[in-house]
Each structure stands twice: as structure tokens, then as C-alpha cells.
């Protein structure tokens, strides 16, 4: 089986040379540039791990290195995040038998080289927010480091095939994939910005002011990076939310963003006929992108009565014949080891099931577009005050207008501050980058005007009806 897409109206998939890996003894073809999880999925393998007690099969959920469902033993090393680990020729991949109580041990030595690094500004996360922050701190003439756990820069921009909304200031009219290329090339022009990809932050030691990360050279060989900095920008993004229903752990149930990663970054079909839950912007945009990849989305459903998506996004898929069913939700996903069908039903205005409204859908995937949770764990470690604000996606840090948190010298930008979109993330990156540079003693005189304009731009961007809730949420966290 080959689930790869070879023809696409917008994307070109530059696949590298052919490689071979083995999965539980079976040989699997892969292409250089793919990750282990992508190569397995492309070969039709959906079961990556098993739950420890009931041994239920699990497949990848997030595909961006945040969940733990794609953990596998690779070349003898346990608990490898296969979704962000590039394939190497003759890699040996094995399914782990449940997550043991004891720490698993590698069957070969792991090489770790400790290195100390000092920068003016350290930025965690190389998505739209982090890259913009890096450019601004770079312009201020400072020594800047940008860390990202993924092998690729650009965060979630690299899977956006659609032209962006917003204004010229936020690159409206350009596709996310092209904005990513632009920002990456801009960052690379700075000699004073160092990029660390495949570098995962694992801790922050407040007393010493040390940010600890390990960077993978290749599987089994790591640098232990010990960062100190005058200021930090945390742009760690967010993680997709789950939804609880019978069969929610079946392989084939995944975040809509995970489906995007497979389809648009790697050109691998996550399913042939999925159901999408959540008719907000993410759900309907992913439905459209699935159609571009030649996937027949069965329906997009949402329990509320009015789609939260921009009408232009929802009407785009309606005219293509993709049904949007409001006041509908999922009863269960079922199947033997993977999704083979799903039952949906209608609810009344009190969200109670309407008897007899069940419909059994012939689907092979369930994609969840039910919101995201900001990834605030690192900020908590750094001592930033965190508050639960549902309007912003969950636990988020308190912040000033110039995006400083209550932790000393720590700034935020993008989805980690509130779940919005890439346009706002870039603008927040601009603000946080300038603020962090100011704190670190950079030459920001010429940049302060830009920060002021970015703050005003955000105010205007958020003044529409779709931003009412977010604006209310922001009131609760503004210092």
C-alpha cells in the first residue's frame, strides 16, 4: 500500500532518495525527508503503540511532537517520537509493548555531549511567532538563538496551502507555505541568529537561569544544550484538544492538524473518507485541504447551531458538496484496530440527543477540530503566572500589552498566549521580539514605532465579531 499523494493543485512534494526501514521485521519503503511516523503511515501502518493495561492499539494523534501516541523503539532506543524523527536508511522500528512502569532502557549506548551557550535572546519555537520575534531581535543587533523540536522550521505555517486572510502587514493573499519560506529566508540572512532544529527543551532552572535542551544530531547522538540569556521569547504554540467518545483512541482518530501534517507537509493521505468534528475555521479549512489532496470528506459536524468559521471558509466547502451538519455530534467510532465507521446523531437546543437521528457513516478516519490548548508547561517552569481562560483556549500566561509575562525577562507570542491564528501570531512575534530585545539591551530605537503599530494593528484585527470572545478573554489576562 502507498498512501502518498503524487499530484496536488498547490503543493509539490520533493521526495528525497528511496530508503528502507524495518518495522517489526517487515521492510518498508520510505523517502529521505520523511519522518518515521510518516513513512509508516504511508505504508498503511496505523497501529504505533498499545495502551499499557488493556493493550488497545494506538495511532499518532498530533504529528507535531506533542502527544505520546507515536512513541516507538527505534534502533534500540525506547520512546522515540517517531513523528518528528527523520527516517534513516535501515532503521529498525519496533512497537513497544505498553508503557512500562520502570523507565525503559536503551539497548545501545546513547551519546550525550554537554555544551554551554550564552545569548542575548533565546526564542523557543520556530513557528510564525518565534521566527518573527527572531527577525526583530536580530534587527536590534543582538545575538539570538531559536530552538524548535521539529526537524523543520516554520511551525504550522508549513501545512497551510490556502491564501491567508488579514492585511498586507500580515502577508494576506500569500499562502502559509510561502510565508514560512519567506520568514525562514529572512531569519537565515542574519549572521547573529543561530537556529537549532530538533532541539527539545526539557527544563528550566530558575535559580541558575538555565534553559536545558537536547538536540538530536542523529538518533542516539545528542547535544545537551545549556542556554543562558538576557531575555526569552516563549512561542511554543499549542496542542490539539481531544474529544471523549467510545472509540476515541482508535487508530485513525487524530487531530485535524495531524491530518494536515500528513497531507500537506508530506503528501500522505491520512484517510480516504474521513469525518471531521468541529466546523470552526480549522475544521472547514482542513476539509478543503483534504479535497485538494483527493480525499472525500464525508461530513463536517459540530454540536453548536452556528458554525464559528468565517462564512467564506464554510461556504467554500458547501459549494463543493462537503456537508456541514450543525447540532450534530459523534456517538462512537468503531472498527477492528482502526476506524471503520462512525455513528453521528443530532442534538436539540439543550444539546440532548434527538431520538432516531443516528446515522452510521462509512468513514475510515475521524479528525478532531475541537480547539487547541496553549503549550504553557515551559512558562510554568519559568515562573510565569498562569490563569485558566476558556476564551483563549485554556491555561494561558498573564501578560502586559508588550507581551511580557510575570516571569522575569520572559515574553510570549503566538498560540501559547491565546489560540488565534498565524496572522496574529506573527504580529505578536514582532511585539515580543522587540520587547525582548529592549530588555536585553538591543538597539531598538527604530523598532519601537513598529511595536506600537503592531499593538494597534492587533486591536483593529480583533475588533470584528469573530473576535468578541477572544477580546473578552484577553481582558482577563492583561496586566
Amino acid at each position: 500500500m502507498d498512501r502518498r499523494v503524487w499530484e496536488h493543485p498547490i503543493l509539490k512534494f520533493d521526495r528525497g532518495r528511496e530508503l528502507f526501514i524495518s518495522m517489526n521485521g517487515k521492510t518498508i519503503k520510505a523517502f529521505e525527508g520523511e519522518t518515521v511516523a510518516v513513512a509508516l503511515y504511508a505504508a498503511g501502518i496505523m497501529q504505533f503503540s498499545y495502551s499499557s493495561v488493556r493493550h488497545r492499539p494506538r495511532g499518532p494523534f498530533c504529528m507535531i511532537g506533542k502527544c505520546s501516541q507515536c512513541f516507538m523503539r527505534v534502533n534500540g532506543i525506547p520512546h522515540v517520537r517517531t513523528c518528528i524523527t527523520p527516517v534513516e536508511d535501515r532503521m529498525v522500528v519496533e512497537v513497544e509493548s505498553g508503557h512500562d512502569v520502570d523507565l525503559p532502557t536503551p539497548s545501545r549506548p546513547i551519546e550525550v555531549v554537554p555544551i554551554k551557550k550564552h545569548y542575548d535572546v533565546v526564542i523557543v519555537g520556530a513557528g510564525p511567532a518565534g521566527l518573527k520575534a527572531a527577525i526583530k531581535a536580530g534587527e536590534a543587533g543582538l545575538k539570538v538563538a531559536v530552538l524548535d523540536q521539529s526537524p523543520y522550521l516554520g511551525g504550522q505555517l508549513i501545512k497551510q496551502t490556502h491564501k491567508f486572510f488579514g492585511t498586507k502587514e500580515s502577508y494576506a493573499g500569500m499562502r502559509g507555505i510561502d510565508i514560512a519560506k519567506l520568514l525562514i529566508s529572512q531569519v537565515k540572512e542574519f549572521d547573529n541568529i543561530d537556529l537549532y532544529s530538533q532541539a527539545t527543551v526539557v527544563g528550566y532552572y530558575k535559580k541558575e537561569g538555565v534553559l536545558l535542551a537536547y538536540q538530536m544530531e542523529k538518533l542516539g547522538v545528542y547535544k545537551l544544550l545549556n542556554f543562558t540569556a538576557k531575555s526569552f521569547v516563549i512561542a511554543t504554540g499549542a496542542m490539539e484538544k481531544n474529544l471523549i467518545f467510545p472509540g476515541d483512541d482508535l487508530p485513525g482518530v487524530m487531530g485535524a492538524g495531524a491530518a494536515q501534517t500528513l497531507m500537506n507537509v508530506f503528501g500522505v493521505k491520512p484517510a480516504d473518507k474521513p469525518l471531521i468534528i468541529g466546523a470552526g475555521n480549522v475544521g472547514v479549512i482542513v476539509a478543503y485541504q483534504a479535497a485538494q489532496a483527493g480525499i472525500e470528506v464525508k461530513a463536517v459536524i459540530d454540536i453548536v447551531s452556528k458554525s464559528a468559521a468565517y462564512l467564506v471558509h464554510s461556504s467554500k466547502i458547501r459549494r463543493m458538496g462537503i456537508p456541514i451538519l450543525m447540532r450534530h455530534t459523534i456517538r462512537e467510532a468503531y472498527g477492528n484496530g482502526r476506524v471503520e465507521g462512525a455513528v453521528i446523531y443530532q442534538v436539540d437546543d439543550k444539546f440532548q440527543p434527538i431520538r432516531g437521528s443516528e446515522v452510521d457513516l462509512d468513514v475510515d478516519g475521524v479528525w478532531l477540530a475541537v480547539g487547541l490548548s496553549p503549550s504553557v508547561e515551559l512558562l510554568e517552569l519559568m515562573g510565569a503566572d498562569i490563569k485558566f481562560v476558556p476564551e483563549l483556549g485554556g491555561y494561558v500566561p498573564l501578560r502586559s500589552r508588550i507581551l511580557e509575562t510575570t516571569a522575569q525577562n520572559v515574553f510570549i507570542a503566538g498560540d501559547v498566549s491565546s489560540i488565534e491564528e498565524a496572522s496574529t501570531a506573527m504580529m505578536e512575534g514582532t511585539i515580543a521580539g522587540i520587547s525582548a530585545a529592549e530588555k536585553a539591551g538591543g538597539n531598538v530605537e527604530k523598532l519601537l514605532e513598529e511595536r506600537k503599530n503592531a499593538v494597534l494593528w492587533l486591536d483593529e484585527f480583533r475588533s470584528g465579531p469573530h473576535y468578541k470572545r477572544i477580546k473578552e478573554g484577553l481582558q482577563k489576562v492583561l496586566l
Binding site: K163, V312, S315, R318
Partner: protein
């Protein structure tokens, strides 16, 4: 159950826009204008922060006081150049030229509708296509008159010949495969 058997509601809340919704919002030009020149039909009646059509318009025919205002068209300033349809991130703009049959083909009764398209297969000149409305209801069969790929935005505009009566309803096409 298959997708065709699912009958979604035809409501604005579920993404279905009607000509009446658009007319109420002032998005449909007077008949006199439609009979005379090519004009954009913009399916955007919401307040969203989005300005590419406004930014790209060479004659400043799109009126948008703030980034959140829905676009309004000054029908006299508009030249029907199609740049807004190429730029629109929502693929929400079709260009309707009701006078095309009469003026260019010398066949009154035919309109040319330019539809932004980002799916495969991309229709080719001469292809027969199924033509659909805003809710994917079949309207008619049409013929692809020409196909233009926007050099700046990458979006393809498929120009389809359809009967004038349905021109305002046309929003989507699918190539009819040779049997």
C-alpha cells in the same frame, strides 16, 4: 451512508449563502450594470479582517473603510479585470460577464463566469463541466472557454460559458470525465 445521501441544511449558520443574502447586503449589481460589463460577485457579507481584494484592485473600486468591513464594489469604477477573484483567500469571488455572449461570441444568452479553482483535475479549455450553485445543487452543463493561472496568487480562474439565467448562481464546476 454515503455523502450524497446526507442532506445538510441550507442555512447561513452551516455555510450556505443565498443570492437573497447577497442582494440584501448590496453585493449584487443592478441588472443594467450586469447587462453591460463584467463584474465581481463577492460572497462575503461578514465582518472579517481581510483585505487582499481591496489591496489588489487597480481602480480602487472596492470600498472597505476598515480591515473588518465586508467589501463593497463601486460598479462604475470596476473594470472586471478579475484580480480580486485571483487574490481572494476565500475563493469567494466569481466574475460574471452577462454581456460576453452578445458582445464577443455574437450569441446572446450566454454568460462567461470566472471561477477561482484550486483542485485537481484543473479543467482545460474545451472541457465539458458540471456547473453547481452555492449549495452544490446541479445547475447545468457548461463549457470551459479558457483557463488562466494567476501569476501572482497561483489560483486558477476557470472561465465557463453558461446560460445567462444561472450566471449569478454559478459557484463551482467539476470536469465531466470522458466515458
Amino acid at each position: 451512508m454515503s455523502r450524497e445521501e446526507i442532506k445538510p441544511q441550507k442555512t447561513l449558520e452551516s455555510g450556505y449563502v443565498t443570492i437573497e443574502d447577497l442582494a440584501k447586503a448590496g453585493m449584487i449589481p443592478p441588472m443594467e450594470v450586469l447587462e453591460r460589463k463584467a463584474v465581481p460577485i463577492i460572497d462575503d457579507i461578514e465582518h472579517i479582517p481581510c483585505t487582499p481584494c481591496y489591496d489588489v484592485c487597480p481602480t480602487k473600486a472596492i470600498i472597505m473603510p476598515t480591515m473588518n468591513d465586508p467589501p463593497k464594489v463601486d460598479w462604475e469604477k470596476c473594470t472586471g479585470c478579475t484580480l480580486c477573484a485571483q487574490a481572494c483567500p476565500g475563493l469567494a469571488i466569481t466574475i460574471v460577464n452577462m454581456a460576453f455572449g452578445k458582445n464577443v461570441l455574437k450569441r446572446d444568452g450566454l454568460a462567461l463566469v470566472s471561477i477561482p479553482y484550486e483542485l485537481i483535475p484543473i479543467p482545460k479549455k474545451g472541457d465539458k463541466v458540471r456547473v453547481y450553485d452555492r449549495g452544490h445543487s446541479f445547475l447545468t452543463e457548461g463549457e470551459v472557454y479558457s483557463v488562466i493561472k494567476s501569476p501572482k496568487f497561483g489560483t486558477v480562474l476557470v472561465n465557463v460559458l453558461v446560460p445567462k439565467e444561472v450566471a449569478l448562481d454559478v459557484k463551482f464546476v467539476e470536469v465531466i470525465k470522458d466515458e
